[in-house]
């Protein structure tokens, strides 16, 4: 039953082919068995999962079930879960038990979903390879020597290995799409403000957005409908009704105008990956779409813009981790300064410290205008590029990542090389627009992701466009050989 999509599971549960409890037990066994190979989970919540499963079985039996009742998922360990350790992949929060649920968790619990556990991630979501986690790297299910991408590497690996049919994730500069691409699964970063950030531990507040990693676009459409929406506890949450994403999935694509982002094909793109992307675009042409090249001239500046804005916000957001009210505190601080410096110096990992220091530097006296304000202006230019492009086309397409998954350790000593992994994904975060990555083929036996990006609040369109492709292809149904069998040895 591990190979079923969420939509298929929903049908089979209702057809009583198996119970939620049976499904949950099977998946929990897969989670446990996969841990030594993948390290995709930080915490497994078996006990509460079985309790939720039991309640879901009862609801199904009583005819009180909603469309998501009994469907299992995993939460990225960046979402606060009441009574459960919420570590954000950091030693800083290794001892932290959240006293409250994130809005996303609250909503999906209320929808009757079953939480299998909390997935591994780059520390505080800062990383593109999952190597910065305090809990050790996550391995790519397609090849354990390779990274799964990051920062939502645990969620992507879990779905790719079919130990969870769907997982929540977050995306600040590509942290949903890039691992989805590298693991051969579907990922959606919704419009900024579409999903509440309340209870989602902040990295860079103006860029962070919660989303999903799933097997299919249809699955993501089902869950996003319950996960998105206005939240009075998040001032940046937008009060716009959530459309029925599932209802729009099967619209024909005739007349769809697809813009190919010229700048994405110009630099740094692996030739085989490009070929794979071009073939996928051919599928869309067959479906009745037209392709046009569009220019987003400011887009190549998205990496430097991001590496001012994100560290600046992170340096401030992470100031609350000071060893006073929760989290790691150093041993025997000799005074207040020592308490601060050692708690933070010992509690944060190298990449987090690097970004905090970068952000501290760019905001400090004398540099603010040259870096922060300048970056905000360039961000505006990038935003205008997207706006202009969406005046001409319905969606933008291009690669999600410049290459397939790389080896663990290959880029960890060179932050710039690591940062360039997000070269194609960062723009959407800066402009706040929704973007997806869907599996579109394989290069050197590793999955490649096609990125689809739309204007603000065009999630329904993205799902529609992705679903049409997934009806034509089966890349998204491929599964790594090691995880093909239902019972993992």
């Amino acid at each position: 039953m591990h190979t079923f999509t969420l939509a298929e599971l929903a049908k089979k549960l209702r057809a009583k082919e198996f119970s939620v409890t049976e499904l949950t037990r099977a998946l929990l066994a897969r989670v446990e068995a996969s841990q030594p190979r993948l390290n995709a989970f930080i915490t497994v919540t078996a006990e509460s999962a079985l309790a939720q499963a039991k309640a879901a079985d009862r609801a199904l039996a009583d005819g009180k079930a909603g469309p998501l009742t009994g469907l299992p998922l995993a939460h990225k360990d960046i979402f606060c879960t009441s009574g459960v350790k919420t570590s954000c992949g950091s030693k800083m929060l290794d001892n932290f038990v959240s006293p409250y649920d994130a809005t996303v968790v609250e909503k999906l619990n209320a929808a009757g979903m079953v939480t299998l556990g909390k997935t591994n991630m780059d520390e505080f979501a800062m990383g593109s390879s999952n190597e910065t986690s305090w809990y050790g790297p996550v391995k790519n299910p397609w090849n354990p020597k390779l990274v799964p991408g990051g920062s939502s590497g645990g969620s992507a690996a879990a779905v790719a290995a079919r130990v969870a049919p769907i997982a929540t994730a977050t995306d600040t500069g590509g942290s949903i799409r890039q691992p989805a691409s590298l693991c051969g699964v579907t990922g959606i970063k919704p419009t900024y403000g579409r999903v509440s950030r309340f209870g989602m531990i902040a990295f860079a507040s103006s860029l962070d957005q919660g989303g999903l990693i799933s097997i299919t676009a249809e699955d993501a459409a089902m869950v996003l409908g319950a996960m998105a929406g206005f939240d009075t506890r998040d001032s940046t949450s937008v009060d716009t009704p959530v459309p029925n994403y599932v209802a729009e999935l099967d619209k024909p694509l005739t007349g769809l105008k697809i813009g190919l982002i010229k700048e994405f094909f110009d630099t740094g793109l692996d030739a085989d990956v490009e070929k794979c992307i071009r073939e996928a675009l051919g599928v869309y042409e067959k479906l009745g779409a037209t392709l046009v090249e569009v220019k987003l001239p400011a887009l190549p500046l998205s990496v430097p813009t991001y590496y001012v804005v994100a560290p600046a916000e992170c340096s401030s957001n992470l100031a609350r981790f000071d060893g006073v009210r929760y989290g790691y505190r150093c041993q025997d601080p000799k005074d207040l300064m020592d308490l601060y410096k050692r708690s933070r110096g010992e509690g944060f990992g190298a990449e987090v410290k690097r970004r905090i220091m970068t952000g501290t530097y760019v905001l400090s006296a004398g540099y603010y205008d040259a870096y922060y304000l300048k970056a905000q202006r360039v961000r505006q230019l990038i935003n205008q590029d997207f706006k202009r492009a969406f005046g001409e086309v319905d969606v933008l397409m291009g690669p999600t990542a410049p290459d397939v998954a790389f080896e663990i350790g290959a880029k960890s000593s060179d932050p710039i090389q690591m940062y360039l992994n997000d070269i194609y994904t960062i723009g959407a975060n800066l402009a706040g627009v929704p973007a997806m990555s869907i599996p579109c083929g394989f290069v050197r036996d590793l999955p490649v992701g096609l990125q689809i990006c739309g204007p603000h609040f065009a999630e329904a369109k993205l799902f529609n466009v992705a679903h049409a492709f997934q009806k034509e292809t089966d890349w998204h149904r491929r599964l790594p050989a090691d995880f093909a069998k239902e019972v993992l040895s």
Binding site: A102, S235, T236, S364
Partner: protein, 490 residues
Amino acid sequence: MSTSNNGWETVIGLEIHAQLSTNSKIFSGSATAYGAAPNSQANLVDLAYPGVLPVLNGEAVRMAVKFGLAIGAEIAPRSVFARKNYFYPDLPKGYQISQYELPIVAKGRMEIVLDDGSRKTIGITRAHLEEDAGKSLHEGLPRQSGIDLNRAGTPLIEIVSEPDMRSAKEAVAYLKKIHTLVRYLEICDGNMQEGSFRCDANVSVRKFGAEKFGTRAEIKNINSFRFVEKAINYEVERQIDVIEGGGKVVQETRLYDPDKGETRSMRSKEEANDYRYFPDPDLLPVEIDPAYIGEIKATLPELPDEKAARFVLAYDLSQYDATVLTSSKELGAYYDDVVKALAGEKLPSKEQAKLAANWVAGSLAAALNEHNLEITGSRIDAKRLAGLLGRIVDNTISGKIAKDVFEAMWAEDKSCDEIIEARGLRQITDTGAIEKAIDEVMAKNPGQLADYRSGKDKLFGFFVGQVMKATGGKANPAQLNELLKKKLAG
């Protein structure tokens, strides 16, 4: 102008922090009550738990706008919250949410009256919304401090003046006016002891005629009007001593120590004043439209200066009396009520208004002070006091007797008429009765009478006293004077 200091001119600007009297905090639904058990009013947002977000309290915005309108300021159509980043245990997020480049209120002013009766306008650069910090407690804990975050997130407006004040007295006058104003507007309880109204003073000195300001020191923690004056005067002396001793004033933060009456350098706040301000990405710009401003304008109460001007114009009060009587909204209202009860529908006569002013600011204020009561807690309400004053005006009792009646009214809840009747205090206005008393006194004191008649005018007072004594103080003083003069002349 202060010219006392050997040619040195003092320059003062004040930063006033007024806690807004909202029910809940500026960015969370926690209560703001003073004196609650430690950390019992600090929720996840106030504690800066991971993942939490701020949501702005609309009432705090309304109060800030109200204040802005009352000081004739510009209300920003768009203002922005910014983060002020620094580490301190009472600052849970590691940053304070404040306003930096685009404050909600800018370019206001406040007029103060100086000792010589002249007026001076103090510019108010800006007033911005921000959150208060928690408290560090040091007592009873060896080597450690305890952090109470109940106060963290309490809404504040920080009111920043121009460096327009030239003496500690001016600073106090300005501070008092702001204090009165925020209470009039009912946006701050003004309680300095509890810290809901606090002030930092930026103080510098320069030679008269110098164009440039001297280097300033910021004095923190001045929590009473008296301390403001003392702290500034101490600091001015200190700076002059430093400069005259060949030294240089350093720009620094200093703490006022009320026990020692001095300011001292706060080294802990000195290092690294690099606050790295940037717009808070968790909050959106606050937009205020003219309709909203109009709505608030319509609800503004009569402001202290307006009320004082009305008292001067309509009641013919002196500026001094008007200022005293408008020092709080409640006092002003009480006075208004006394005058109205006294004069009925008509405008009061100048005498009535003055009489009421003297009594409200005099005997009543003294009684309230003695019993440590606010005007709202007065045991004699405006109507009863007006009743008493009415009996003075209609000559039923003299002003002197009225003091006794007032005391009786304070002690027991009876009307002044009841007391006058019960105690037989009604003034004697019957000429015959007064003449009879005069005759008796003259008969009893032939020696004094002879002396008076031989030119010792001063003895007139003696005879007044004797007649008053004989009538139990009830003789109408004016009548008594007139009749006595006649009789003594023989």
